[in-house]
């Protein structure tokens, strides 16, 4: 369902996911445009988180999870056996519902990924990566004088931006956000949304959210999931002003169930 001339970054084709015998996703076909924000909405258990976890093969870590079908990034299939998942997750970063900084210093939280990927040759280069990542996540000014303090000493909103900075430190192309603001207060939420606005100039972002208002504010394209199926995908404006599908309308207007 391509809406404009934007380049497709991620293409899911006939994607089916099973947890044991239970099927969680049914024949998902969804194109995600490059350097845009795509919001995924739908009631709990509808498969939106399962879907984004297919984009960086996070479902691989669940034994009973079976993924069928195709997910392409820049035209290359990511489910091929020879794809290195560490490299894939470097390219496709993820931010979760609850901020989950490592029990390390602010500095080490950011440096962790680049060390694993051998991205810095010396301390100066690493300092530079840490500073740049924190600046991109709009956190630098708040933490530059306390880089050696634990990441967990930060406020919830700062911790979430630290996690975003951590994802950015390995130069990803795609950032997956699974309800990144659900544990944050309105001010911290506004800062993350401002950040998303800024990040979309350089990154492709997929965000799962339960807040309709947030989907309207941050995204250009919205997909509505229900019971593991994608019901409607369209421009965010169309979905929230005049959706084509009655089920979408019932959901976003609070007539569900």
């Amino acid at each position: 369902m391509e809406l404009n001339n934007s380049k497709i970054k991620i293409k899911a084709k006939n994607l089916n996911v099973y947890y044991g015998k239970k099927q969680a996703l049914f024949d998902i076909n969804l194109d995600i445009n490059q350097k845009e924000v795509t919001a995924l909405i739908g009631p709990s258990g509808c498969g939106k988180s399962t879907f984004i976890r297919c984009i960086n093969r996070m479902n691989d870590v669940i034994d009973i999870c079976k993924v069928e079908g195709s997910v392409e990034i820049d035209g290359a299939e990511i489910n091929e056996k020879n794809v290195d998942v560490v490299t894939l997750r470097e390219k496709v970063g993820m931010v979760f519902q609850k901020p989950n900084p490592f029990p390390k210093s602010i500095y080490d939280n950011i440096a962790y990924g680049p060390i694993i990927h051998g991205a810095a040759e010396n301390k100066d280069q690493m300092d530079n990566i840490v500073e740049t990542s924190l600046k991109k996540a709009a956190l630098w000014d708040e933490v530059k004088d306390r880089l050696n303090e634990p990441g967990t000493s930060l406020s919830g909103g700062q911790q979430q931006r630290l996690c975003i900075a951590r994802a950015l430190s390995v130069n990803p192309e795609v950032i997956l956000m699974d309800e990144p603001c659900s544990a944050l207060d309105p001010i911290a939420t506004a800062k993350i949304e401002e950040l998303i606005d800024d990040l979309k100039k350089s990154y492709t972002i997929v965000i799962v959210t339960h807040s309709m208002a947030q989907a309207v504010r941050v995204s250009q394209k919205t997909g509505f999931f229900h019971l593991g199926k994608i019901i409607e995908v369209d421009s965010t404006e169309k979905i929230f002003k005049n959706p084509a599908n009655k089920m979408t309308q019932d959901y976003i207007t609070g007539r569900f169930g």
């Binding site: 309709m212 929230f240 005049n242 207007t253 007539r255």
Partner: protein
């Protein structure tokens, strides 16, 4: 999943009350327009004060609707059809309020008119009044029935309102040319005619708002226009 009411009952009640108030406002406006036209045609000066007074009720309802809409926007952040209903109701209520004002202005012009208004002056005016009242009734029915086709029909029919307005104005102008002493009466009648025509314009606005409510898109293209007044 059902497609019926909102899960939150109070939201459902708020939207229902908004609808009821708009319907009530429409009904009052229809009555005011009918009363104002009847007053002109019969030169019924006694009814004028009542018509002027009744306009207050329409204004009150508009204020009520404005407050209700502010509350819905703040409390519910309406989406999709609810958003379109909210926006359209606000616009339609403002158009109805303006139509009410125009009916009041029409009624006020009755007082200075001579009781023996010549028939040749009111033929087209009467037809214009009938047409605009019919347009208003159709617009309110179309709102109740959510009829897109009717909205388009009303929108296009304003051309006839324009044509009849021109005809009525020409009749007054011709009468005026016969005797300059008719100037004051003619001026009042020209205002009456123009006010009715403007009420017609507000009815086309209502049709446009209704179309947006139903379709989520704006009526496109230029509306047909009547012939200009011949000088």
């Amino acid at each position: 999943m059902s497609g019926t009411g909102h899960t939150v009952k109070s939201y459902e009640e708020e939207m229902q009350s908004l609808n009821d108030n708009l319907v009530m406002m429409g009904s009052l406006t229809e009555n005011q327009m009918a009363d104002a036209m009847a007053a002109v045609i019969k030169v019924d000066k006694e009814s004028v004060d009542k018509i002027v007074k009744n306009d207050g009720k329409i204004n009150e309802l508009r204020t009520t609707i404005d407050n209700q809409i502010t509350n819905v926007l703040v409390k519910r952040a309406p989406m999709a059809i609810d958003l379109r209903i909210t926006i359209s109701t606000m616009k339609i209520s403002h158009d109805l309020e303006r139509i009410g004002d125009l009916a009041k202005s029409v009624a006020k012009k009755v007082k200075p008119l001579p009781v023996d208004l010549p028939d040749e002056l009111i033929g087209s005016l009467r037809r214009l009044g009938d047409l605009v009242q019919k347009q208003l009734k159709d617009a309110l029915d179309a709102y109740l029935n959510r009829s897109k086709d009717k909205a388009i029909e009303i929108w296009k029919k304003d051309e006839q309102v324009d044509d009849l307005t021109n005809l009525a104005m020409n009749e007054v102008a011709t009468y005026l040319q016969k005797d300059k002493k008719n100037l004051e009466m003619a001026t009042h009648l020209l205002f009456v005619t123009k006010n009715i025509e403007r009420a017609g314009d507000h009815i086309t606005n209502i049709a446009e708002s209704l179309y947006y409510l139903i379709e989520g898109e704006y009526l496109e293209g230029a509306r047909p226009k009547g012939k200009p007044v011949e000088s």
